[in-house]
């Protein structure tokens, strides 16, 4: 085993520039992407208010308070122009009768003008739905209040009572949170609040690190091509030892890469990851292990380095998307996609880091996620070992 490990470490020097470049790119791209997708950046949404009532204006004002989008009132022609030129991601049309439907509890349909589908549109849908729900709740509260008082036999001016109750509801929505959560993150040295940037930072760190890790497969295919692999397979050294040496060295490289990103983020860029660094590195370690094993498995499936080059991006990008590194899984509604997400290592790494960041450390959840990652990795590793003799002749 030591001989195999030493060989891999010696061969690493051939790839040192590639590893440094990949790490630097991963660090750079993680920061660029995550800052572009969060922070002060808010995509613009055009608002076209055809209803033009007090309620619709109030609805527009409420939307303008959104933390996700910058809503701008305009007319339809200007909205279309802005969307076509890409200045705005979409236009939201509030049709006539919007207020009445909200008040009566009828189904409200809002039209969205858009040039293409994007993840932001899913977030927009969610943002608008939450705001509309808030208004419907206020109307419903006022409606029920009037109904109860009327049923009790009190003589009141119903319209006046409705208005008063509605206004009070609005007041309490605005100035009182229905529920306050006082949470404390254990061991956190700095004050921390969950924000999307952390999600994207973690997501992109995981995503970009997988590229270097999975290309462990190219080492195997390179060896198969130069026939040193075949020579090792006919030696007394077992396949498990050969594969394990690859796994260990690639794991070390992967952990160095992820560790550098996490530590530079923590100590030089003042990023608070929202979780104890040690605990987070354990999650990352389990993730890197799993993806190294995937790399070994993929090497058994591909016949040439060129094939691997074609397969890897497809696997990495689709698994990262499904696993929720590029957007929170909370905004996904499709049961199929959510089920598929369970098969993606990213999901388990993201989930435990996000959960710990938001609600504090739950040891059981933490261990469960780490164990699931390790179990996934072990299954992939076993399959990888079984496939190690493929395409050797």
């Amino acid at each position: 085993m030591i001989n195999q490990l030493l060989l891999r470490l010696k061969l690493l020097k051939d790839d040192k520039i590639l590893i440094i470049v990949m790490t630097a790119m991963a660090l750079g791209l993680t920061l660029v992407f995550s800052s572009a997708m969060s922070g002060n950046y808010k995509p613009e949404v055009m608002l076209i208010d055809h209803d033009n009532t007090t309620t619709s204006k109030e609805f527009v004002n409420e939307l303008k308070l959104s933390r996700l989008f910058r809503y701008t009132e305009t007319d339809e022609a200007n909205a279309i122009k802005n969307i076509e030129t890409g200045m705005s991601i979409a236009g939201l049309v509030i049709d006539q009768g919007f207020s009445d439907k909200l008040r009566t509890g009828d189904e409200v349909n809002l039209s969205v003008l858009r040039s293409k589908d994007s993840i932001e549109l899913i977030q927009l849908q969610s943002d608008v739905r939450i705001t509309a729900f808030k208004f419907m709740s206020k109307f419903k509260t006022a409606d029920i209040t009037v109904q109860v008082i009327r049923d009790k036999g009190f003589a009141v001016e119903e319209e006046e009572l409705f208005e008063e109750t509605y206004n009070l509801s609005s007041y309490y929505w605005k100035y009182r949170n229905p529920l306050n959560l006082n949470s404390q993150v254990l061991s956190a040295e700095r004050d921390w609040a969950y924000n999307p940037m952390i999600h994207y930072l973690i997501g992109f760190t995981l995503f970009f690190s997988t590229f270097t890790i999975v290309f462990v497969g190219s080492d195997i295919l390179k060896e198969k091509q130069q026939k040193t692999w075949q020579r090792k397979l006919v030696s007394p050294v077992s396949n498990t030892v050969i594969m394990s040496s690859l796994l260990i060295v690639t794991f070390i490289v992967g952990m160095l890469q992820v560790g550098i990103i996490v530590l530079i983020g923590n100590y030089f860029l003042d990023i608070n990851w929202g979780m104890d660094i040690g605990l987070m590195l354990i999650v990352f370690a389990a993730f890197v292990y799993t993806f190294t094993a995937i790399g070994l498995l993929v090497a058994g499936l591909a016949k040439t380095i060129e094939q691997l080059g074609a397969i890897v991006p497809i696997i990495l990008i689709s698994s990262a998307m499904l696993g929720g590194t590029m957007w929170p899984l909370e905004i996904i509604q499709s049961k199929i996609l959510l089920t598929l997400a369970n098969l993606m290592p990213h999901k388990w790494a993201m989930q435990i880091i996000s959960q710990t960041a938001a609600y504090g450390l739950n040891f059981n959840n933490y261990i469960t996620s780490v164990l699931i990652l390790v179990a996934m990795g072990t299954v992939y590793l076993i399959i990888g070992i079984m496939l190690s003799k493929r395409h050797v002749y």
């Binding site: 006919v234 007394p236 003799k389």
Partner: protein
């Protein structure tokens, strides 16, 4: 030492090895001779435990290596046709790695590296990276890497492909030396002259089958081929021709200008007597060419095609 029985290997619909059987005794050099695609590499890959046969058994010292590959792996030196080395490492690093892979360490490893690098003639270049070596040196190191653990059985798969004549001769001499030191060898090639020079016994393969096997003489005898003799003689006359025709072993005598050609039948009689007849009867011998049937001819005779087709 090695016994192969009814070995079959298919790749999709192609029969790469089609029911071959042979035995290998200790100390032999067995040549597997055949054109590209004959099934030589597939056969040795199965013996080396790299791929599993579809059918048949391979017994090494009585153990079935298809079921128990470990029983041969420590005693086997496998030299693939390709240069199976790490080009970015030095020759020494490569030898150390392969030696340790077979369990050598410390003084034993150092001594073996010294001995093997002497045999293959690369002692003075061990500190250089392999990618700086010439093609011939890489081939020699490729062989050396399989010799470190002093294997009982060495399989060499076309070890002289694409190298200069000098390196080739060095490799052939090294193989002879290794055999003399006690190793049993399976040597595949499509170069007839290499097999003739090295091998104590030869299996001729074509289309996945062994079409003939034996020593060189046995193979030649098996097809009843005759020697062809061509003499270039000044002043050919009727007496010379008549005298030559009287020999029992002379057949199909043809005269073309100053050239006399005939076939030799059987092993009796000597060419010296013919030369005397020419000289005594006023002829002057310019040259004499004896074309003996070789393995190339045997292959051509058996398959109807040349070895390098």
């Amino acid at each position: 030492m090695l016994e192969i029985n009814n070995l079959y290997k298919h790749f999709n619909k192609t029969k790469a090895v089609d029911g071959i059987s042979f035995k290998l005794e200790k100390g032999e050099i067995l040549g597997l001779l055949g054109p590209n695609g004959a099934g030589k590499s597939t056969t040795i890959s199965m013996i080396a435990t790299l791929i599993r046969p579809d059918e048949g058994t391979i017994l090494y010292k009585g153990e079935d290596i298809v079921r128990k590959p470990k029983s041969i792996q420590s005693n086997l030196g496998f030299v693939p046709q390709e240069i199976a080395l790490y080009p970015s490492l030095t020759g020494m690093d490569n030898l150390k790695f392969w030696g340790k892979t077979y369990g050598l360490k410390g003084k034993e490893l150092t001594n073996r590296i010294e001995e093997v690098s002497e045999i293959i003639g690369i002692s003075d270049r061990l500190k250089d990276r392999v990618d700086k070596y010439s093609g011939g040196m890489k081939r020699r190191l490729n062989i050396g890497s399989a010799l470190l653990h002093n294997p009982e059985l060495i399989i060499l798969d076309e070890p002289t492909v694409g190298i200069d004549p000098q390196s080739r001769s060095h490799i052939l001499d090294a193989v002879k030396k290794i055999n003399q030191m006690g190793s049993t060898i399976i040597y595949t090639s499509h170069y007839m002259e290499e097999v003739e020079y090295l091998c104590t016994r030869t299996c001729i393969m074509d289309q996945g089958k062994i079409i003939a096997s034996g020593t060189k003489d046995e193979l030649i005898d098996s097809i009843n081929a005759d020697e062809k003799i061509e003499l270039i003689v000044e002043n050919i006359n009727d007496i010379i021709l008549a005298e030559i025709k009287r020999f029992n072993f002379v057949e199909n005598l043809i005269v073309d200008g100053d050239k006399i050609a005939f076939k030799r039948k059987g092993h009796n009689g000597s060419y010296g007597e013919i030369l005397d007849i020419i000289s005594v009867n006023g002829g002057k011998l310019q040259s004499m060419d004896i074309k003996k049937p070789d393995l190339e001819f045997v292959f051509l005779y058996l398959t109807g095609k040349a070895l390098r087709d």
